[in-house]
Amino acid sequence: MSATHTILNLPDQRTATLPKRTYINNEDGLLSWLFTGDHKRIAMLYLISITFFFFIGGAFAGLIRLELLTPQPDLVAADTYNKFFSMHGIVMIFLFLVPSVPATLGNFLIPIMIGTKDLAFPKINLLSWYLYWIGGLFTLAALVLGGVDTGWTFTTPLSTHYLNTHVVTAATGVFIIGFSSIFTGLNFIVTIHRMRAPGMTWFRMPLFCWSNYAASILMVLGTPVLAITLVLVGLERLVGIGVFDPTKGGDPLLFQHLFWFYSHPAVYIMILPGMGVISEVISTFSRKRVFGYTAVAFSSVAIALFGFFVWAHHMFIMGVSNYSALVFSLLTMLVAVPSAIKIFNWAFTLQKGSITFETPMLYAFGFLGLFTIGGMTGVFLGALGMDIHLTETYFIVAHFHFVMVGGMLMAFLAGVHFWWPKMTGRMYPESLSKLAAVTTFIGFNLTFLPQFILGYLGMPRRYHAYPQEFQVLNVLSTAGATVLGVGYMLPLLYLAWSLKYGAIAGNNPWQATGLEWQIQSPPLTENFIEIPIVDHEAYDYEWLEHKTAQEVTTVG
């Protein structure tokens, strides 16, 4: 067992003190952060940045729900309302959800999980963060200068011919942010291919790496199409090239094909890394390897693959040929299957485990329930005839919030709590965070379950005012959003508090098997003193037990 000795081990957390030298205190000063190449520091920069944008996007969500409390258009003017939901969408999708897990947790953990010192291109990694901020500033500029009211989809010809808001500014922002996500994806792909530690074969990688790898492929192949589309929108607006203009022989539907060619895979960019988090969390807190490792790994790849061929299911009512609608509906049904496989594998991971219910596990359970609903309602929308009635209503809104917020945000919070001890060296307050997890779950369901009913009633999305008879359900939804807001404020407060006052975590507070848990927390700048040699599979709890037992004998 000589291999295990090469992994740096420090004393158990009960006796643990914060290590003297970590990536946080290795260098001092703001500049050492702004010019860092360290993937962990960049991850922290990203974490702070996306949290900032999350609360901006959240504020817009709150304003939207406040306006919809009453059927009358009484809180803000119609244009203002349209700007609210446009900014909510743009900020939440491009500045929060897409980078959320990959750019923070992925950045921090992937090099450590596969046993290397950094990502393949540290400087490109830093560049990606700067691009993210430049894009973010363009978006903020569009907001401060008066907003943009295209919706996050920038649909032509509305965005090109009929609005005089800051469309080009916002589109430039999204264009630039796109490159930041391409660079992150590129970095992950190269790192996972080329820099795995000796013995770390593809099928010994934690599932978190698999799912981020799948998402990276989507980022690298999908995002350029979005960039091209936005350039065409800009050119159409500025010089009128007419690609999307029917009076000049263009086709306005072409825009939607191009846009959804990115934006549907983008859904999987957002959810796949979250699925990786869930695999890690569920395995750790049931002390059991993930049931059907290969099935889960390949289902990530299958989702990435099929994800590219379902975009036209956003356009079933738009006069696409009936036969192409058939093909896209069938493929949509197929892409739902890997998600179902994953859900059942996670559920069966619990079987015969030894389960404890720490906060990350509660968030993960929340994910399983909400994502099941989100996924199944996706099947409603994939069914051609059903989609006619449901699309463009609140049913769609509820569906993608179940996937994106109920799924991805739950997974993100599970991951942040799970790796918080590793990232900061300190524990979060357990009972308060359990309260936050439960609050979020209740608030979420109260917000979005009524929206399914509203959707079937036919209430269209993006409506500033609505008929009287929809009010009761809207009031419920707004009440839920308030609870949800509290649920999201809590972690912000207690996690900040724990940076200084949290209990010291030690190396491996969860007794998890990943390589990241075998090094000190917070890690050294170089992660490993010596590159580990991996001789066991992921989630090998027997190996961990054996290793700890050996440790005790050495110490004793």
Binding site: G151, P157, L350, I355, V379, M386, I388, T393, P467
Partner: protein, 347 residues
């Protein structure tokens, strides 16, 4: 515990006035709802199953009861089970959904046609008999009604939730949807595609009337000119009749009876002449040259409104002979008094 009676009354009224499930007011609605309930059923079953597994395992294998985990690799049999069963269910949903889709988007051949033009931010309905409505649509119950829709500016979407039908209204292209209303009453029309500032004001009402009431309504609200008659005037005033006169030496093809026929184009393609083809041929003639004719027709892009195009299309559809074209032509070319118009056709 005492609640103010005023508040109590308000709450009761408020809750009673709220909706939970849309009315079933078209022949399509029961079909859509059946699929909806099937989907709800498999969702509830799936959710219960996942919930039962999670809670069951959580109780049975919690650390207090089960301190040492037993490692299991996985099971091909189980993997196959939860691949094949969801796949089978999803395929059933796919076939069912596809049948419903084709039912909603393939109008029966005997349907009556109403044109709908969407523009920021109103719906204009034009009945062939010359009734024009804004943000309203009157239809008879028990008849198949087809809507031929087009947008004058941005994407809109025409939705009648109580009929379970909806279709995108696209700039520069006709789209169609059909329904058969079953219950007299008024129902919401929503624009469901975000279309700018007053998106949420682009709403209206469908009024489904019994056949007698519908007869009454058509008689009372006609503008006196059918769409085809408007089209005929436009045809003459735009000078279309100069070339499309139907005479042997005419420079443009004969339009009488052209609707519904198969046409050979210069490009070699054969097309079926329908509403969309006629509209495209007017706006973009060089791409739609009938074989044997010179490309001399100018484009009418930007010169005729969508309403005007609908009038022209209706006129060409109804055109069975060139008699009246030649009559008008003679009139406009010889500075003579127009011959007495035959009495106005009843819509």
């Amino acid at each position: 515990m005492h609640i103010s009676p005023v508040l109590w009354q308000f709450l009761v009224k408020w809750l009673n006035a709220s909706a939970l499930f849309p009315r079933e007011a078209s022949t399509m609605a029961p079909y859509a709802d059946a699929l909806y309930f099937f989907l709800l059923l498999i969702t509830v079953v799936g959710l219960t199953l996942v919930g039962a597994l999670i809670f069951g395992f959580s109780i049975r294998y919690r650390k207090e009861k089960h301190p040492v985990a037993i490692q299991v690799e996985g099971s091909t049999l189980l993997e196959a089970t939860w691949t094949i069963i969801p796949l089978a269910l999803f395929l059933i949903v796919f076939v069912w959904g596809a049948l419903l889709y084709f039912r909603i988007y393939n109008p029966p051949t005997n349907s009556m046609n109403i044109y709908v033009v969407g523009k920021q931010w109103m719906w204009k309905a034009e009945h062939p008999g010359g009734q024009h409505e804004i943000n309203a649509l009157h239809v008879p119950i028990g008849r198949n009604v087809q809507l031929t829709m087009i947008s004058q500016d941005v994407f809109h979407s025409f939705s009648i939730p109580d009929f379970r039908v909806k279709r995108e209204v696209i700039p520069g292209r006709y789209s169609t949807v059909w329904f058969n209303a079953t219950t007299p009453g008024t129902y919401h029309i929503f624009c469901t595609q975000y279309c700018g500032t007053n998106h949420s004001v682009m709403i209206g009402e469908v009024t489904a009337l019994s056949p007698d009431d519908y007869e009454k309504w058509t008689a009372q609200s006609t503008s006196g000119m059918s769409l085809a008659q408007n089209g005929e005037r436009l045809f003459a005033s735009m000078g279309c009749n100069a070339c499309h006169s139907g005479s042997a030496a005419a420079r443009g093809p004969n339009l009488a009876g052209v609707y519904g026929s198969k046409l050979q184009l210069t490009s070699g393609a054969q097309v079926l002449v329908n509403d969309a083809y006629l509209r495209d041929a007017i706006l973009n003639p060089s791409q739609h040259l009938t074989a044997g004719y010179a490309p001399i027709m100018p484009t009418y892009q930007g010169q005729i409104s969508e309403d005007g195009l609908i009038d022209l299309v209706e006129y060409i559809k109804s055109m069975q002979s060139n008699y009246r074209v030649q009559q008008t032509l003679t009139t406009s070319e010889s500075n003579q008094a127009a011959p007495t118009t035959p009495e106005v056709v009843k819509p």
